[in-house]
Structure formats: structure tokens, C-alpha cells
């Protein structure tokens, strides 16, 4: 193989620097003792202490976790059977059902947000944390379906046939044959849905009721209401958390 040209190395290095420098300075300056400026005034854990004692922030983080856990459980419970169903479906109507199920994936997020807001107002369902969970479950369902289906498509259909030939009931076939084979994909999909839910701002912004503040909503209002190094510290924690989630999913895929 030909050695890669210098300019190619250069531009790739620059691309990586472009992706990472902002995140790195952000983390670095979360340890800055200075309150106001971007001038380095010495190392300090101060802003992490401020974070830890910010009650409103901790409440928002708890809300975010609840929403992520509930919406992820919901999409796994709905999505895994739906993926299996779509996989077994043949003939007319399959295309239409496919399109409907994957619709939320291609909708602009703003559109999804206003549509859900309008819908909840029309049916007079008061906005709350529950509407946020529903919204997240609506856009995450196709994520789970796509990932689980990709795995199902690779399965040897003869395995399930063999199980039913040997007298296994539909439930036994699922529990003892299909489930162990798709479990890694389901966990990967759940992890992705969990992360997307934790990070979501736009849909949450539209459908969160008063008091139903999630972490991204809180970060947004902090940015809007004047900058403080506390946001740097919070951002660093979030960066670390997402790296942890990536690491977890990678370790998981290895197995």
C-alpha cells in the first residue's frame, strides 16, 4: 500500500483537531479558578463543588434519568416485538407499514416537537414529565426497530424452524432461541435510545410542562441567562458520561 500523502495526513489531523479542541478547552477551563474571564487563573475544583450543591440542577438530572429509563424501557418493550413482526411480514402492505414505523426517523425534530405539542394541547393532556417520556418514546421507537431488525435479518431462519419442528411453542422458541441471539442488538439499541433521550433538547423543549425541567433544558436556560464556569463543569461531566456510554457499548459489542 502506498504511503498516505502528507497533505492528507495534515487535513485529517486538522479535522480531528477541529472536532476535539473545543471539547478539550471546555474541560480544561472547567478547572479555572476565575469567575469571569477566559484567562487562566489557577487550578480549582470550585465549579464542581458549585454543581454538586445546585439543587435545581440535580433535580433536572434526576428528571432526565427518569425520562431516559422510562422511555427506553417503553421503546424496548414496543420495539423488539415490532421488529420481529416487521421481519415476518410479507406481501402487500408491508411497504406501507415499514414507512409508517420509520417515519419519526426522517421527520425534522422541530416538526416532531410542534406536532406533539399541538396534539397534546388538542386532546387536553396537560404537559408534564409524562408527555416528555411519550415524546422520547415516539422518536426512539424506530431507532430500536432498525437496530434489532438488522440483527434479525442476519439470523439463520432455520434455527427458529428447527425449534418449532422440535415442538417448541412460539414463546419457547422466542425465549430459548431468538432472544439469546438478538440480546446484544437489543442492549446496543437500548443504550443508544437511552443516550438520545438524555441528550434530547428540541422535542423536550416543546412538550415539557412547567417544572418538568430536564438536564438539557436546564443547560439551555443556564447558557441563555448568562455564562458561568459552572456550565463548563457541567459540560465536562456530560462529556465524560457520553464517553462512558460509548465505551460501554464498544466493550459490549466486542463480546
Amino acid at each position: 500500500m502506498r504511503k498516505q500523502g502528507l497533505w492528507l495526513q495534515g487535513i485529517s489531523g486538522l479535522g480531528m483537531a477541529f472536532l476535539y479542541l473545543p471539547i478539550i478547552v471546555l474541560v480544561l477551563f472547567s478547572f479555572n479558578a476565575s469567575r469571569l474571564s477566559a484567562m487562566w487563573q489557577g487550578f480549582s475544583w470550585h465549579w464542581y463543588g458549585v454543581l454538586w450543591h445546585d439543587e435545581a440542577l440535580l433535580a433536572a438530572a434526576a428528571n432526565s434519568l427518569w425520562v431516559a429509563v422510562l422511555s427506553t424501557s417503553l421503546v424496548v418493550l414496543l420495539g423488539v416485538p415490532a421488529a420481529m413482526g416487521l421481519e415476518r411480514l410479507r406481501g402487500r402492505g408491508k411497504q406501507a407499514l415499514d414507512t409508517i414505523m420509520l417515519l419519526p426517523l426522517v421527520l425534522p425534530e422541530v416538526m416532531m416537537g410542534v406536532a406533539l405539542l399541538l396534539f397534546f394541547v388538542m386532546i387536553q393532556w396537560p404537559l408534564s414529565l409524562a408527555t416528555v417520556v411519550i415524546g422520547h418514546a415516539a422518536f426512539n421507537l424506530p431507532v430500536v426497530i432498525v437496530m434489532v431488525r438488522a440483527r434479525l435479518q442476519k439470523l439463520d431462519p432455520r434455527l427458529e424452524e428447527a425449534a418449532s419442528d422440535l415442538g417448541a411453542s412460539a414463546w419457547q422458541t422466542f425465549y430459548r432461541v431468538t432472544w439469546p441471539l438478538v440480546r446484544p442488538a437489543v442492549l446496543g439499541a437500548a443504550l443508544l435510545a437511552f443516550t438520545i433521550s438524555l441528550d434530547d433538547f428540541i422535542v423536550t423543549f416543546f412538550v415539557a410542562g412547567p417544572g418538568a425541567t430536564t438536564l438539557p433544558l436546564k443547560v439551555y436556560s443556564m447558557i441563555k441567562s448568562g455564562l458561568s464556569p459552572e456550565i463548563n463543569a457541567l459540560s465536562s461531566v456530560l462529556v465524560l458520561a457520553s464517553m462512558g456510554l460509548v465505551g460501554l457499548s464498544l466493550v459490549h459489542q466486542r463480546r
Binding site: M1, R2, Q4, G5, L8, I11, S12, G15, M16, F18, L19, P22, I23, V25, L26, F29, S37, L78, P81, A82, M84, G85, L86, R88, L89, R90, L97, I100, L103, P104, V106, L107, P108, V110, M111, M112, V114, A115, L118, F119, M122, I134, L141, P142, I145, T195, L198, D199, F201, I202, F206, P216, V219, I223, L227, S235, L238, S242, M243, V246
Partner: protein, 297 residues
């Protein structure tokens, strides 16, 4: 295969087909109620009239769509299309060499670089946008550094501009471009590139006559994946843009939550969705044409 086994098979087939539909029902209902139905509501409201104090009066009118022709909205739509187009172009220009470089690395380092591309993609979008505020604002890092070095005497106005929005969009969506491009380039037989070099192709003709035709599906996929979210973006122009960098997403949010003109906001959303669906349709057509061409050969 004899007749009896065929009929048994089709009986099993139809039973599992029925079971397939039953498994699908809960998810299907969920999607219909919380995605399809809300969209139908938006469509209906876009043909209704605004009440005196906001809200919706169910009186059929096409006024909202006629209002879309207002030059102000037209300008915002054109600007959004331009922004999304430039974001796509810049992501392609930066993403292609990067994806090519990664695809030609030894396998172990490929995996490492791909993880490095993935991490920002998994990192909270707000946090990544905030990083640019921290760097670009008047008292921000860049101005502080430049003033310390005595390269400037007064801080530069970098934030709250169209350029800042463009930067934020490219930064946010670059991974969406690199990943499909990488997948496409990685599949090219290295012998083809070797052959081009051996036949005295220069770098440009290698790129134009070998790489582009072979990676076209990847290029189109990457462009669609970048174009669609940047067109409908809300956060980046909201946080990095100035008064004149409003994009469709901000306009929709403004009509819904600030002006409380839901019918107009709905008409705007429908138009945005039509543009998105149109570009997706173009993408699928291009994909299937590509597949068709390959099939003929």
C-alpha cells in the same frame, strides 16, 4: 419438492404472517397515535384560522399558505437552504479526505479513529454548541488569547453571526458525513486505486474518475444526513446566530411559542417537511437508480 410439503410450508407461512402482524400491533398503534396523528393535526391546523388570543379557530382558510409567500418568510427559507447547502458542502470538503485517510489506515488504527469520530457524535449537542460560545464570544477564549498576544487591540465580534452558525453546523454534523463516506471508501478494492496510480493518474483525476464514481452512494447518503438536520436546525442558529441568522426551525418555534400563531407555524412546518421529504425521495431514487445500473451490468 412435492405438493404436500409445499402446502404445509404455506400453512406455516400464513400462520407466522398472522403472528407477525400481531407482534407489530402495539408498536404500530404507538406510532400512529404519537406520530402520525399529531402530524395530521398539524396539517389540519395549517388550514385553520388563528384565534384572537392565539389558539385555533376551525375555519378553513388558505391564508397561512399565502402568508408563506411574504418576502420575510421567503428570505428565511432561502437563507436556511443556503446555510444547509453550505454546511453540506463544507462537511463534504472536510469529511472526504478524513474518511479516505481513515479508510486507508491499518485496521487497528481505523477502529481507533472511528471511535474518535463517534465520540463527539454521542456528546450532547448543547455542550458542543456551548463550547463555541465559550471560544468565540467577546470575552471568549480566542479574543483573550489574541489580545494577550497583542495581535488585536479590541475584541473581534465573532459570535452571533452567520459565520458562527455555519461553523457550529459543520462542527455538529461532520460525523454524519464521515461515517457513510468511510463505509463507502472502505469497500473500494485498493487494486483499483493502485491501477489508477500505475496508469499515471494524478491526484485530481484519481479523485474525479475513480473515487467519486465508486463512492457516489456514500456521498449522497452523507449529504442527505447532513442536509436534513442542518435545514431544520434550531439550537445552532438560536445560540450562535444573531438577529439576522434566523432559520426555519427558529421561525417555527417563534410562531408557536412567542407569536402564538399556530396555524402559520403549522403551515411553515408542513413546508419544511415537504422539502425534507422531497430531498429524501431524491436520495432514494438516486440509490435505486444506482442499484439498477449495477444490476444491468
Amino acid at each position: 419438492m412435492n405438493q404436500s410439503s409445499l402446502s404445509v410450508e404455506s400453512a406455516v407461512g400464513s400462520r407466522s404472517r398472522f403472528a407477525g402482524f400481531r407482534l407489530l400491533v402495539p408498536g404500530l398503534l404507538w406510532t400512529i397515535v404519537f406520530c402520525l396523528l399529531p402530524m395530521i393535526v398539524v396539517l389540519a391546523v395549517s388550514f385553520a384560522t388563528r384565534g384572537t388570543y392565539g389558539g385555533v379557530v376551525w375555519e378553513f382558510s388558505l391564508d397561512n399558505y399565502r402568508d408563506l409567500l411574504h418576502p420575510l418568510y421567503g428570505r428565511i427559507f432561502v437563507q436556511s437552504l443556503l446555510m444547509a447547502g453550505m454546511t453540506t458542502g463544507l462537511c463534504l470538503a472536510l469529511g472526504f479526505p478524513l474518511a479516505y485517510y481513515i479508510a486507508r489506515l491499518p485496521p487497528r488504527r481505523q477502529a481507533l479513529w472511528l471511535v474518535l469520530i463517534m465520540i463527539p457524535f454521542w456528546t450532547n449537542f448543547l455542550v458542543r454548541t456551548y463550547a463555541w460560545i465559550f471560544i468565540l464570544r467577546t470575552e471568549g477564549l480566542l479574543n483573550t488569547v489574541l489580545m494577550q498576544l497583542h495581535m488585536i487591540s479590541t475584541p473581534l465580534d465573532l459570535l452571533y453571526s452567520n459565520q458562527a452558525v455555519l461553523l457550529g453546523l459543520v462542527y455538529g454534523y461532520l460525523p454524519f458525513m464521515v461515517l457513510p463516506l468511510y463505509a463507502a471508501i472502505e469497500r473500494i478494492d485498493p487494486a483499483l486505486i493502485e491501477a489508477a496510480w500505475d496508469l499515471y493518474a494524478d491526484r485530481w483525476s484519481l479523485f474525479r474518475r475513480v473515487l467519486i464514481p465508486l463512492t457516489k452512494p456514500g456521498i449522497i447518503a452523507g449529504c442527505v444526513l447532513v442536509f436534513i438536520p442542518s435545514l431544520g436546525s434550531f439550537l445552532t442558529p438560536d445560540l450562535l446566530g444573531g438577529a439576522r441568522s434566523m432559520m426555519v426551525g427558529n421561525l417555527i418555534q417563534h410562531e408557536y411559542l412567542v407569536a402564538r400563531d399556530w396555524p402559520l407555524g403549522s403551515a411553515l412546518s408542513i413546508l419544511l417537511m415537504l422539502i425534507v421529504m422531497g430531498s429524501l425521495l431524491g436520495y432514494f431514487n438516486a440509490q435505486s437508480r444506482q442499484a439498477g445500473e449495477r444490476g444491468e451490468r
